[in-house]
């Protein structure tokens, strides 16, 4: 086997102002392997890869590619060194065709026609070689997310990349699409390409990588052979202490129906119907998990139930009907009705980032007489209670005078949770509770959710992380294209079945799973395109 590393980084450091994103990082990636880089959000994985791709310039350190020292000052230099990158947020021109996106920046000459013709040929070849088929003449905006990602991979291969970096590639994919992606990566490895996979999902690391490097707070803490490690060990390396990967919980004791949702419909500003008749019942003392790939109506469901999007249909809370539009359909009325809400996007909807933590701990409840003193706010009381909440929810640093934006993602989430849970709501809506949250905080947040359930509260959990849905839910409903495709009990289903439901496939197909999934997703795109016109 070849001993020269495909990529060798020596002593890479990078600071953004006072934040040291990468500290003296050295790593060797061997050719023809899949090398995983795992770490919590903000551990510096993406920064490191952006340096390798010439997007940022390192303050110190050297990059060696295939045994020779390279000065990678911009993306062009990275491309000519044979490095391709698939970003988490795709870098595609939406209203260009696939073919145009592929050749952009890699044209053969000043005229387009010959470049397009050649690219068409190459694309066909690559599609057969790596199971990467996409329609070259389709506009990117009409492609499903999975296919857009294929275009990104094709872009890199068209530029003859030997080293492919993928940054959190499965975050937006259905499980079947993710499996297909891993098959593509397998093919690439078999062809001698080197793949660097950045992820925060332990399962993916264990499934596909040969070697894994762990990052924590800007430092590389370990590089180990995947075969010789375990998820528990990796989690410990990521966090720096032992973590509980499984949530301890007893079987649910569901009580009466608290929230009853019937035939909910919602049309967004662009005229597209996002909720197409959603019905569900939420009982006291249970966690109902809503699984689904982002963008299938889960966000709209939360917005409607939380009171800041209009809808038609019927929602009753403990038998009392709630207005779905006009007066009384707002967040404050919902909170009065006993529905707390931890929004999906805490930075946009959950917190006001420049405001202090103590101010953020009362938003939505600030009109409560408890917080008033005459005509003014009783700031002293709010601060005092904020301090107490922050201590009990282990917000670090426990300083109520800091602005919300100065806390890490996990601690911001704890502030929102503290605010909503402490008001003792009967129903709690939670969207993406652990998105961008470090493993240590995930453990805490999960325990809080279960504790609330055990107090007899009803919890509606929306998450795109299937693992999270499995470990917390007492009942799982799968959303696809604005509808509930089905409900399952966590003990009686598996990732594959849920994955198919998430792509709108209700019956296990006879042929290849990915074909059925692709067909279903394509139909969905076509439906949406029709509504747009």
């Amino acid at each position: 086997m070849n001993d020269t590393p495909a990529i060798e980084l020596k002593g890479i450091s990078k600071a953004f102002g006072p934040v040291q994103a990468n500290k003296d990082i050295s790593i060797r990636v061997m050719p023809g392997t899949i090398h995983g880089i795992i770490g919590e959000n903000g551990a510096g994985k993406s920064t490191l890869m952006s340096i390798l791709y010439g997007f940022y310039k390192a303050d110190a350190g050297e990059i060696w590619v295939n045994g020779s020292h390279k000065d990678i000052t911009d993306s062009q230099a990275a491309i000519s060194a044979g490095i391709g990158m698939v970003f988490q947020h795709f870098k595609l021109v939406q209203n260009f065709t696939v073919l145009e996106n592929i050749i952009l920046g890699a044209e053969d000459g000043p005229m387009l026609r010959p470049s397009l013709a050649r690219a068409r040929g190459v694309l066909k070849q690559l599609a057969e070689e790596y199971e990467l088929s996409v329609d070259p003449d389709e506009l990117v905006e009409n492609l499903s997310v999975g296919h857009q990602q294929r275009v990104e991979i094709l872009k890199a291969l068209y530029r003859q990349a030997d080293i492919l970096i993928l940054d959190e590639p499965t975050g937006v994919l259905t499980p079947a699409e993710a499996d297909h992606l891993f098959r593509i990566l397998d093919h690439l490895r078999a062809e001698g390409k080197t793949v660097i996979l950045i992820t925060h999902k332990l399962r993916e690391i264990m499934e596909i990588t040969d070697t894994v490097s762990v990052m924590r707070r800007g430092e590389m803490t370990a590089t180990v052979k995947t075969a010789e490690t375990s998820p528990e060990q990796l989690a410990e390396l990521m966090v720096g202490r032992k973590v509980l990967l499984r949530v301890d919980k007893t079987p649910a004791q569901p009580g009466e129906v608290l929230l009853d949702v019937q035939n909910l419909r919602h049309v967004d500003d662009a005229g597209v119907e996002r909720l197409k008749g959603v019905s569900l019942q939420l009982r006291a003392g249970e966690v109902l998990g809503i699984a689904g790939v982002a963008g299938n109506g889960q966000s709209e469901l939360l917005e409607v139930l939380g009171g800041y999007a209009d809808a038609s249909g019927a929602v009753t809370m403990k038998g009392v009907s709630l207005p779905l539009s006009g007066a009384g359909a707002d967040g404050s009325a919902r909170r009065k009705a006993g529905i707390g809400h931890v929004p999906e996007d805490r930075q946009e909807e959950g917190l006001i980032m420049p405001y202090t933590a103590w101010e953020n701990t009362v938003f939505g409840y600030h009109r409560d007489p408890h917080y008033q003193s005459g005509m003014l706010m009783n700031n002293a009381r709010i601060k005092e209670e904020a301090q107490d909440k922050m201590t009990r929810y282990d917000v670090r640093p426990p300083n109520p005078n800091l602005a919300a934006r100065n806390f890490s993602g996990g601690n911001q989430q704890k502030i929102v949770l503290a605010r909503e849970i402490e008001r003792d709501p009967d129903v709690l809506l939670i969207g993406q509770p652990t998105r961008g949250v470090d493993i240590g905080a995930i453990e805490f947040i999960h325990q809080e959710i279960i504790r609330l359930r055990d107090k007899g509260k009803a919890i509606l959990l929306v998450s795109v992380e299937l693992d999270e849905i499995f470990s917390l839910s007492d009942r799982i409903a799968v959303m696809f294209d604005g509808q509930i495709m089905g409900e399952r009990m966590p003990g009686e289903t598996d990732q594959t079945e849920l994955g198919l439901l998430m792509a709108g496939v209700t019956e296990r197909p006879e042929g290849k799973l990915i074909d059925a999934v692709d067909a279903s997703l394509k139909e969905k795109e076509a439906r949406e395109a029709r509504q747009h016109d």
């Binding site: 993306s75 062009q76 990158m85 970003f87 870098k91 021109v93 939406q94 260009f96 952009l104 005229m111």
Partner: protein
């Protein structure tokens, strides 16, 4: 209305549409690259003044044209520096350019010529002469086609023909060349261009340079072709009408031609007929003047299809992961 009058109105339409078309295509290049340019008006005005001034001083319209283009390029450079290099607000920078041009042209004109902020009237070689196309005289007698060729197609200044030829040329550049592909990409998704290893800043400066060149032609045509000399505020809102035409045209070259011809026709009719009497009901001339803007609002309100601007328009490009 007889045939001769119709031809005259259409002839006047072509002349009036020319500066609109040049400015509109200028805006098209700029906005397709993601730089909103509300300063078309100012660039045209600066170009009009400097072309007339230099033509008046040297007696050569060609030197005047060069001076006009140079002035517009300098204005473009300022806009680029503010909005591309320093990532400032493109609207504010554009408005500043309009004010700058409005003030500086009159100031310099007064300083140089002392004629109340205008240039001396241009004569002879100081103006663009109309070109008589081959066989125009010979075919003049042929019914219908003869006068059409003689009046409408022949007998314009060179810049008119340049403007109309710019339409297919622009289309070809945008949709058939590598530069065009990249230019359109940088207005839609600059991050895609950047990660493909192409310079976003370079492309955007190229786009606004073309914008400067075309507004230079537009301004020079106003002062040395359409009229004989510069008077203050002579662009009279044409830069804004060109922007309106650009939206009307949904940022496409051929549609830009039709939009500018339509707006040119409105101007020609307004110029010739002042108040139009429709069987006792009088349409005041102001209605015709306002029509381009009203039409644009109608378009923007989404009554006639959707006008989707380039997605990255107006946003300075900042690298992020």
């Amino acid at each position: 209305m007889d045939y001769a009058t119709l031809l005259q109105v259409l002839d006047s339409t072509v002349r009036l549409a020319t500066p609109l078309l040049l400015a509109c295509l200028a805006g098209l290049f700029s906005e397709r690259a993601g730089i909103v340019d509300i300063g078309l008006e100012g660039k045209m005005l600066a170009a009009a003044f400097f072309s007339a001034a230099i033509a008046a001083i040297t007696g050569s319209v060609w030197l005047g044209l060069l001076a006009g283009i140079a002035a517009a390029l300098v204005m473009s450079g300022i806009h680029g520096l503010a909005s591309i290099t320093f990532r400032g607000n493109q609207l504010i920078s554009g408005v500043a350019i309009n004010f700058l041009a409005s003030g500086i042209t009159v100031l310099i004109a007064q300083d140089w010529f002392s004629q109340g902020g205008r240039t001396p009237s241009l004569m002879g070689g100081g103006r663009f002469e109309s070109i008589t196309l081959p066989f125009a005289e010979a075919l003049r007698g042929v019914p219908i086609i003869g006068p059409l060729y003689y009046e409408l197609i022949s007998g314009h200044s060179i810049l008119v023909y340049v403007a109309f030829l710019m339409v297919p040329l622009t289309w070809w550049i945008l949709f058939r060349t590598r530069f065009g592909l990249r230019l359109r990409a940088v207005g839609e998704a600059p991050e895609a261009v950047d990660t493909a290893g192409v310079s976003v800043v370079g492309l955007r400066f190229a786009a606004i340079a073309i914008c400067g060149l075309l507004t230079g032609l537009a301004g020079a045509y106003l002062a040395t072709g359409l009229q004989a000399g510069f008077v203050r505020e002579m662009t009279a809102g044409r830069g804004y009408i060109a922007l309106a035409a650009l939206i009307f045209a949904k940022w496409r070259p051929w549609y830009a031609l039709y939009a500018c011809l339509l707006f040119g026709l409105l101007q020609a009719v307004a110029l010739r007929y002042q108040n139009i009497d429709l069987g006792g009901f009088i349409i005041p001339v102001q209605v015709m003047d306002a029509l381009p803007y009203i039409l644009t609002v109608v378009i923007l309100a989404g009554f006639v299809g959707k006008a989707i601007p380039p997605r990255a328009g107006g946003e300075p490009y900042v690298k992020e992961r």
